[in-house]
């Protein structure tokens, strides 16, 4: 087990290193970062000064090492666009993204588990078919389309909810659901199939013979065991949340990291882009490792595979 964890950590480190290299080189290829903030009137000397100040006159690999050294000491650089330390910006924006993602996760669980369980219990009924359609639709609709259609129905036509911005729970309902829908589809399918497996198990038959009420069998005996399947997909769910949050924050003008990274990309603020993408990648790799290790703990076959 220890060997597995160490191996997995090393792999993760390698991945993070490769990603940092890719992100760094790509954002430097993207064009002169100074071009975005200077106009024609800035003098040549001024440009040279800035270039030197930001270390842009050094060779690329030197820039990379300086960047990594700073990164490891927690200095993420200063954003061109906002003219503030990126670390500060991230700390300011991260809570909004986390809040929305957590809400989306809760929504996902609250919808996906009950429907998944009931679909399995009432297999092949109209409820099951309806659930399946709901899931297939969720996996076929891009997040921005779901967000905009929901916004149009509930905010514009019915006027029940605000169209955009950050505020109370009301502001979170539409973006939260739009962000969670894709995952609802995936988790629903997984819950249904693992519930179907569990419902056939011997101990469930025994519980029935003992005369335990059916609802208790379903929710206490079966559901708990069926949970393992969907939970192991957590890294996938997390990845979808990250990419989804970039889109949904743009659609609903939600002031989080996703919106920030889009704004930064549009204004060629490569320091901010690097920092945010690296943060997302780091989180993603970490969640991946945690998921794998948990899974290996639960299912020993993985460790030796």
């Amino acid at each position: 087990m220890q060997r597995f964890i160490v191996l997995r950590l090393l792999q993760g480190l390698l991945a993070v290193f490769a990603i940092s290299l890719i992100v760094f080189s790509l954002s430097r290829v993207a064009g002169d970062p100074l071009a975005a903030i200077l106009d024609d009137e800035s003098g040549k000397e001024q440009i040279e000064l800035l270039r030197k100040q930001w270390g842009l006159d050094e060779p690329l690999h030197v820039q990379y090492f300086t960047y990594m050294k700073r990164l490891l000491t927690g200095d993420l650089g200063t954003s061109f666009k906002w003219d503030r330390p990126v670390a500060e910006l991230i700390i300011e924006r991260l809570p909004a993204t986390l809040q929305l993602s957590a809400f989306a996760l809760i929504v996902t669980g609250a919808i996906a588990f009950p429907i998944g369980v009931l679909s399995a219990v009432k297999k092949d009924s109209w409820f099951d078919t309806g659930g399946k359609m709901f899931a297939i639709l969720g996996q076929s609709a891009p997040t921005f389309a779901v967000g905009l259609i929901l916004m149009w129905i509930f905010a514009v036509q019915l006027g029940w909810l605000p169209t955009s911005g950050k505020g109370g729970v009301k502001h979170m309902l539409l973006p939260g659901f739009a962000l969670g829908y894709y995952n609802v589809a995936a988790i629903m399918r997984l819950t249904r199939s693992s519930m179907l497996d569990v419902l056939d198990a011997e101990y469930v038959k025994l519980a029935r013979i003992k005369g335990i009420p059916e609802w208790k069998i379903i929710w206490k005996h079966c559901f708990r065991n069926a949970l393992i399947g969907p939970l192991t997909y957590f890294s996938l769910i997390f990845a979808i949340l990250i990419t989804g949050s970039v889109v949904i924050e743009t659609v609903f003008a939600w002031p989080g990291l996703g919106l920030m990274v889009i704004e930064a990309i549009n204004s060629k603020d490569h320091i901010t882009v690097q920092a945010v993408v690296m943060l997302f990648a780091l989180l993603y790799v970490a969640i991946n490792i945690i998921t794998d290790v948990t899974y290996a703990y639960v299912d020993p076959r993985i460790r030796y595979g």
């Binding site: 792999q11 993760g12 390698l14 991945a15 490769a18 990603i19 890719i22 992100v23 790509l26 954002s27 290829v29 993207a30 297939i136 639709l137 996996q139 076929s140 609709a141 891009p142 997040t143 921005f144 389309a145 905009l148 259609i149 916004m151 149009w152 514009v156 169209t163 990845a239 990250i242 990419t243 970039v246 889109v247 743009t250 659609v251 990274v261 889009i262 990309i265 549009n266 060629k268 882009v273 993408v277 997302f280 990648a281 993603y284 790799v285 991946n288």
Partner: protein, 361 residues
């Protein structure tokens, strides 16, 4: 006598056989996922091929006078608002600013309902004007803010979607298949290196990678295809490697080697044909995914650049007008959802037919 008794029997068997054959064909057609196929043919394939002939209007140049016309079933509607000196931004549904109101009356677009006895517009008057022009069959699905026909743009958008997805899958799938086969066949170091790269690639959220890539190379048709291909290849490599490893174990590969076939020949003539089903099913399953990726990138402004009528671009165009002109964003949204939905249903069906093992992928 004998001939008389046998001939009806023979024809009976014959018709039975024919009936059996007909039934088989009927069953085969019935088993086809008809609705998704019909939707795909009419929404994606036909418009994509015949966009130039079928589209009623130019997809890039609109008529400004016809801007923001609703779809044909929406009739014109009128609104009454109170004229105020300066309209409050949050109350635009009940108020209208004085200057704006005067302009509307001068142009004859509005009538004064009450308080306009003196013939001029004053604050406090009620103004009645046309809120929406009526739709017509001239533009069946309405027009956007530049007066371009939505239907024509959706048709040309289908062409973009089809082209991007087929080219990206061809490129990404081809690369992935090749690398997956190499990894399985060569084994050892080649395998280790390729699979490590796959792991790294899969350990990175795809949209973000795409955004950074597009920001680096600059948005455009070729960029989008390359970027999506870069996102796709890893999954192919992983699945194909698994399949190819199993095929490599079989006897006929050893026999081919004994009979002197070269490595390239074994890969192309003996391993690849056994992978075709898997590759085709994966490709079908990926089309929907690619259309979603492309439209998301275009929506975020990092995909197909603006004047080209990609569906994602059209949705982005209509986003700001969601309160006043819903048809601009809604129809391209529906086009994406319906196409991807049908493609996914078709892919599921094909997988169950050709390669049920892939169900867990």
């Amino acid at each position: 006598m004998a001939a008389v008794t046998t001939s009806p029997e023979v024809t009976g068997v014959d018709t039975q056989q024919r009936a059996g054959r007909v039934a088989k064909v009927v069953r085969a057609i019935r088993e086809l996922p008809l609705i998704p196929l019909v939707v795909l043919i009419f929404l994606l394939v036909i418009p994509a091929i015949f966009a130039n002939q079928l589209a009623p209007h130019n997809q890039r140049i609109g008529v400004l006078d016809d801007a923001k016309l609703p779809p044909f079933w929406v009739s014109e509607s009128f609104e009454s608002r109170t004229v105020v000196q300066r309209a409050d931004k949050d109350r635009l549904d009940v108020e209208i600013g004085l200057t704006n109101a005067q302009r509307k009356v001068e142009r004859g677009e509005a009538t004064i309902l009450s308080g306009g006895e003196d013939g001029t517009v004053d604050p406090g008057d009620t103004l009645r004007f046309q809120a929406n022009k009526g739709g017509s069959m001239e533009y069946p699905l309405g027009t956007d803010k530049q007066g371009r026909d939505i239907l024509s743009r959706i048709m040309h958008g289908a062409r973009i979607s089809l082209m991007v997805s087929s080219l990206a899958i061809l490129l990404g799938g081809g690369l992935g298949t090749l690398l997956g086969m190499m990894a399985a066949y060569r084994g050892g170091k080649t395998d280790a290196i390729i699979m490590r790269i796959v792991d790294i690639k899969l350990a990175f959220p795809s949209i973000l990678l795409a955004l950074v890539l597009v920001a680096a190379i600059g948005a455009g048709f070729t960029t989008v295809i390359v970027v999506i291909a870069v996102l796709l290849w890893a999954r192919y490599a992983r699945v194909v490697r698994g399949e190819a490893l199993a095929i490599k174990q079989q006897d006929f590969i050893d026999r081919a080697r004994v009979s002197g076939a070269s490595n390239a020949r074994i890969m192309m003539r003996h391993i690849f044909p056994n992978l075709v089903n898997t590759v085709v099913v994966l490709a079908t399953l990926e089309v929907g995914h690619v259309i979603i990726l492309e439209s998301t990138l275009s929506f975020l402004g990092a995909g197909i650049p603006a004047p080209t009528p990609a569906w994602g671009v059209m949705v982005a165009d209509g986003r700001d007008l969601i309160t006043t002109a819903w048809w601009i964003f809604l129809f391209p949204c529906l086009a994406i959802v319906l196409t991807v939905l049908s493609m996914n249903l078709l892919g599921d069906w094909l997988r169950d037919k050709l390669d049920p093992k892939l169900r867990n992928v």
